[in-house]
């Protein structure tokens, strides 16, 4: 036994395996090319064939799938060619021998054998051509890196007033950092620290019963439910994105879609795509006030109908509608009337409605009342209405990883629980959450008033700055963000320019979110999170002003140059 393993590293063995390896690459390459040929032939046949209207949808679908397959095959070919090319040029076998402690194995290991003259691909591209991942693994990685590389840069270079004064300030991630002192204090109280045997053992995957009971009580009280909510309708997972991912799995098949009014929080696009492969179809709202648009970005049933119609025309299977209330990034709150209309629209078309009420306790304008969908006397379609809430925003503890689903549909609740063991929360954390939610006295008398006051103050500070800069913005009532219009700093007003401006903020170590990330149709919008401590917020706003000043100067120079040229 040991003799056999001893003979393994002998060079001749390696050479042989190398030859085999190369051979297999070429065989694979041939295979892929053959596939490519087949697919292209089919593709052309499909493109040329005309079918009846009924077939139209399937026709488009087939074409789209073939196109995707074509690009996938091309991608595979590139991968193979690359690995083949490298092994051809490299005398040493590239499949890695033991590399532990070996400095060469740092970045982009799949390119380890690549000859020097070939330019190194960037992280993101490198991820894209790896041989070790599945195609979907590559997609997941690429999607993640393309969307989160700046966030990761921030994680590595966070601002700290003493240790890293030149680090990134993040006004792009929706986190409430205003009440961390209160939360830290509360979490250190003695009732929080409990280690019971049951908490260390395998849990009920829907969430510990004590926590589900508490969540039901909590939502009954704060959502003003007409009747006590049932703990059996609660499923507790490690974050709202997990809830969303599980819902997308059980409500949709791959390639099916949800409607979402945009601008819309981009994180959900993620949750539906990474695992579940569910698409989000935007219902584009507009900033301009017109006869039908009585206020900016108004959602109307007409727009929903239109979007649904168009999506169906394009062959999309729409399974539901996703609403965020209070809205992110607009900060608007749906009136009970409009909410009812959206729900009736959904009922009319047998659509599920997922309502994300994660900012429900972050309404800081006291003159405005938030109406939870759970407060309605009767829901148009109880079995297709699913409510999501979590502690991340309202309690500023995104690091806790807690999200809850409330649905009257027992079937949905039960199937989402099947995902419980992939999205479970530590028993110890469940205990803490239960204690937190149970203490309504502290929440009502200490936490919420303070939180609202601080949100209001921070909002006031930021909006005063924006007014001084004459920057139009949205949101005067809820959430952690303002939705700002920087169109006047873009010339021309395009998404490319928006991206450049975003980069410029980054260069000044300021992270914002641009409208594109919220699937906004109009370029030039940004989301600015104001729920940060005042000293940091002040510095951030200084950087913000600097960037815009710089941008303005550039614009003037550019306009002058244009004028000169003319």
């Amino acid at each position: 036994m040991s003799r056999r393993s001893d003979t393994l590293p002998v060079p001749s063995g390696q050479t042989r395996s190398q030859v085999l390896r190369d051979q297999s690459i070429y065989t694979q390459l041939l295979e892929v090319m053959w596939h490519l040929q087949q697919t292209m032939r089919e593709h052309f046949v499909q493109l040329m064939s005309r079918q009846g209207l009924l077939q139209e949808r399937r026709h488009i679908q087939a074409i789209r799938e073939q196109e995707a397959l074509l690009s996938r095959l091309l991608c595979q070919m590139i991968n193979l060619l690359q690995s083949g090319a490298t092994s051809g040029l490299e005398p040493q076998p590239l499949s890695s021998e033991d590399s532990r402690g070996d400095v060469r194995y740092g970045q982009g290991t799949q390119l380890a054998g690549q000859p020097d003259p070939v330019p190194q691909l960037s992280d993101c591209e490198a991820t894209f051509v790896t041989r070790d991942l599945s195609n979907r693994g590559t997609d997941i990685s690429a999607l993640y890196w393309s969307s989160f590389q700046d966030y990761n840069a921030y994680q590595k270079d966070k601002y700290h007033k003493d240790k890293n004064p030149l680090g990134f300030i993040n006004l792009g991630t929706s986190e409430n950092k205003l009440c961390i002192d209160l939360m830290a204090e509360r979490l250190q109280e003695s009732d929080m620290n409990c280690v019971e045997e049951a908490l260390l053992q395998y849990p009920d995957w829907r969430g510990q019963p004590f926590l589900r009971e508490e969540v039901a009580r909590f939502l009954t009280y704060y959502c003003r439910a007409p009747a006590p909510l049932d703990p059996e309708n609660v499923v507790v997972l490690n974050g709202c994105c997990s809830v969303f991912s599980a819902l997308a799995m059980v409500l949709c098949d791959p390639g099916e879609a949800f409607l979402v009014p945009t601008p819309f929080y981009g994180g959900f696009a993620f949750s539906s795509r990474l695992y579940a492969k569910v698409e989000l179809i935007p219902v584009h709202l507009e900033s301009k006030i017109t006869a039908i648009n009585t206020y900016p970005f108004q959602l109307t049933v007409d727009k929903l109908e239109e979007a649904l119609f168009e999506a169906r025309l394009k062959g999309k299977d729409i399974r539901g509608l996703v609403l965020t209330n209070p809205q992110n990034p607009l900060g608007d709150i749906y009136s009970p009337d409009s909410l009812m209309k959206y729900l009736e629209f959904a009922k009319r078309h047998d659509l599920h409605v997922i309502i994300d009420e994660i900012y429900m306790l972050s309404v800081f304008d006291e003159s405005i009342t938030f109406h939870s969908v759970l407060s309605m006397k009767s829901l148009p379609d109880r079995n297709r209405t699913h409510v999501v809430w979590g502690t991340s925003k309202d309690f500023g503890i995104s690091g806790f990883r807690f999200g809850a689903l409330y649905t009257h549909n027992k079937e949905v609740a039960s199937v989402v629980s099947a995902f419980g063991y992939l999205h479970s929360i530590s028993g110890i954390t469940q205990h803490k959450l239960c204690q937190l939610l149970r203490n309504t006295e502290w929440i009502d008398k200490v936490y919420l008033p303070t939180n609202r006051f601080r949100l209001r103050e921070a909002h006031k500070y930021v909006t005063a700055k924006l007014k001084a800069l004459e920057i139009p913005f949205h949101n005067r009532s809820s959430g952690l963000y303002v939705w700002i219009n920087l169109k006047k700093y873009l010339d021309p007003c395009t998404f490319e320019e928006e991206q450049l401006l975003y980069r410029r903020f980054l260069d000044h170590k300021l992270l914002l979110s641009c409208g594109k990330a919220y699937m906004c149709k109009e370029p030039g919008w940004f989301c600015l999170i104001f729920a940060d401590e005042l000293p940091r917020l002040k510095l951030a706003m200084r950087r913000f002003c600097d960037v815009l000043e710089e941008q303005k100067q550039d614009l003037i120079v550019k306009q002058l140059e244009d004028a000169m040229r003319e």
Binding site: S2, T109, M192, A198, V250, P254, S398, I425
Partner: protein
């Protein structure tokens, strides 16, 4: 920002589509769920068939309906067990669970440690969005911990560590990023059966079995020995059936065999994998639960040279070794940056609380407590419990396997099955349950031979004694039943259904389930 791979979004290879149903159906064709579905089918036409199922429930997607179908089986089992759970005072005649692999021997030590003041730390960064790979302080601690306890020849690196909320999540994420829909991992059987669901639920990845048997012949020096020849055969068979195999899953120390692989064996398996460009996932979740000193356990991370370090991925968790399955903490160690990054990309869905991450770092850092208090005591208690159960078995003249690792003994009850069928195995299991002791039967581990059972011994002495007493009652009264089977219990279709119901009890996808958890 979200634009990049959109063009690939609808690629058929990543779509479950309507084929999902077929795939799942096919992939489960020869395993238990499939069998169960066939049996149910005979009794209740339409219920077992996912396609027919789709017509009567209108709220779910077709994959949702499939998942529901599996989960309902699990739910039912879960309820049945939990309705009658043993409690010393409240329900002394309730069911004793020797089926779930949990270490209930050291709660006193753990609760004391976790209640110390250093565990109660709260700081802002712990409450905010984390680095999705896990907080750096924890990854550093994990790297040091694994370097030490896995006896790594070189220091392991924090950037190769990804932290998730449990081994199930890690299997799910790895399956998704390493395999396409319908592709497979090789796994030697008997194995911890819940992996089937872990890799299937999101990933739609299947398992290709490397069947091992108990007979010692020819090249095999001990029962259920894994050899490269068997791996080669299984791989060939999978290919001939058109199944694309992407990797190999090894559990070391093994569950349910309670055995460990020698370094030479490990090396051979790894070389085999390298030859076929297979990834190897090595699940070392019981690595510190080797309580017999004579057993020389070697982590794959202790090897001087890994044949294919870029395709070797190691899993570890605190669930077993620290008896905290409810804490939800697991870690991946891989030198493959792409794999680490891809798994980390899914960590948004598998994150754990910052406060728990802090606690874990404190725990793993406390080498003095681990080495001087926890491990010696844990091993002593495991050994005592193991001794008790194995002596009971010897007294009954029952053969078993267990070399001193893990929480379980793999028990050979074949002599109690006159015909040696899985139906009889099921009936015997049912007898145990009727006598209020829950065990896991071999079929749940895809064991090829009917008659093997897994006994979990890592429980408090009073429960263990009572459990073994109940086992003894069944086995000593057994012969009579075996000689005189009620015809109705094995023949009629209605009773086939009842054995399907039994299956429901066993093949629940996750832990609250009485049996199928690790």
């Amino acid at each position: 920002m979200f634009a990049l791979p959109q063009k690939n979004f609808r690629a058929p290879t990543t779509c479950l589509g309507p084929t999902c149903t077929q795939d799942m159906d096919r992939s489960h064709g020869d395993d238990l769920e499939g069998e169960c579905s066939r049996k149910l089918d005979q009794k209740l036409p339409g219920v077992g068939d996912p396609v027919m199922l789709s017509s009567d429930t209108s709220y779910l997607s077709s994959r949702g309906r499939m998942i529901k179908w599996f989960w309902d089986l699990a739910e039912e089992g879960y309820r049945t067990y939990h309705m009658d759970e043993y409690d010393e005072d409240k329900n002394p005649s309730g069911i004793i669970n020797l089926g779930t692999s949990e270490n209930k021997l050291c709660f006193d030590l753990l609760s004391r440690r976790l209640s110390q003041s250093d565990m109660q730390w709260v700081e802002p960064s712990l409450l905010q969005y984390p680095d999705w790979r896990g907080h750096l302080f924890l990854r550093e601690e994990v790297a040091k911990f694994l370097t030490f306890y896995c006896k790594s020849p070189v220091p392991l690196r924090p950037e190769n560590v990804v932290v998730l909320n449990g081994g199930a999540s890690l299997f799910s994420a790895l399956a998704t990023v390493l395999c396409e829909v319908g592709e497979a991992f090789l796994i030697p059987t008997p194995y911890y059966g819940a992996i089937t669901q872990h890799v299937c639920l999101y990933g739609n990845v299947r398992l290709a079995y490397v069947y091992l048997d108990s007979e010692v012949t020819g090249l095999d020096t001990r029962p259920f020995q894994l050899t490269v020849e068997k791996l080669e055969t299984a791989l060939r068979e999978a290919y001939s059936e058109g199944v694309r195999v992407k990797g190999l899953i090894l559990i070391n120390p093994q569950n349910p065999l309670g055995d460990v692989y020698s370094t030479e064996e490990l090396q051979e398996y790894l070389v085999f994998a390298k030859r076929h460009k297979l990834h190897v996932i090595v699940d070392e979740v019981y690595m510190l639960s080797v309580f017999e000193e004579s057993v020389g356990y070697h982590s794959v991370l202790s090897l001087e040279r890994l044949p294919d370090p870029q395709r070797t991925h190691v899993m570890w968790a605190t669930s077993k070794d620290f008896g905290m399955s409810g804490l939800r903490f697991a870690t991946l160690y891989t030198e493959n940056k792409d794999v680490a990054t891809a798994v980390a990309s899914l960590c948004r869905y598998h994150g754990l609380s910052g406060l728990v991450q802090y606690q874990m770092a404190q725990l793993l850092r406390d080498r003095d407590w681990i080495n001087q208090v926890y491990l010696p005591e844990n091993h002593a208690r495991l050994k005592a419990a193991h001794t008790y159960v194995s002596e009971e078995l010897r007294a009954l003249g029952i053969p078993f396997l267990s070399r001193g690792a893990g929480f379980f003994i793999w028990v050979d009850l074949r002599k109690y099955l006159p015909k040696g069928t899985f139906e009889e195995e099921m009936l015997l299991w049912r007898r145990f349950l009727d006598n209020k002791v829950l065990l896991s039967f071999g079929k749940a581990f895809e064991c090829k031979e009917p008659g093997w059972f897994r006994f979990v011994f890592s429980d408090q002495a009073h429960r263990l004694r009572l459990g073994m007493q109940r086992v003894r009652q069944v086995l000593t009264g057994k012969s009579q039943v075996a000689e005189d089977p009620h015809p109705s219990q094995t023949q009629k279709p209605s009773d086939q259904c009842s054995s399907a119901e039994l299956l429901k009890l066993c093949f629940s996808p996750g832990p609250p389930s009485p049996i199928k958890q690790n």
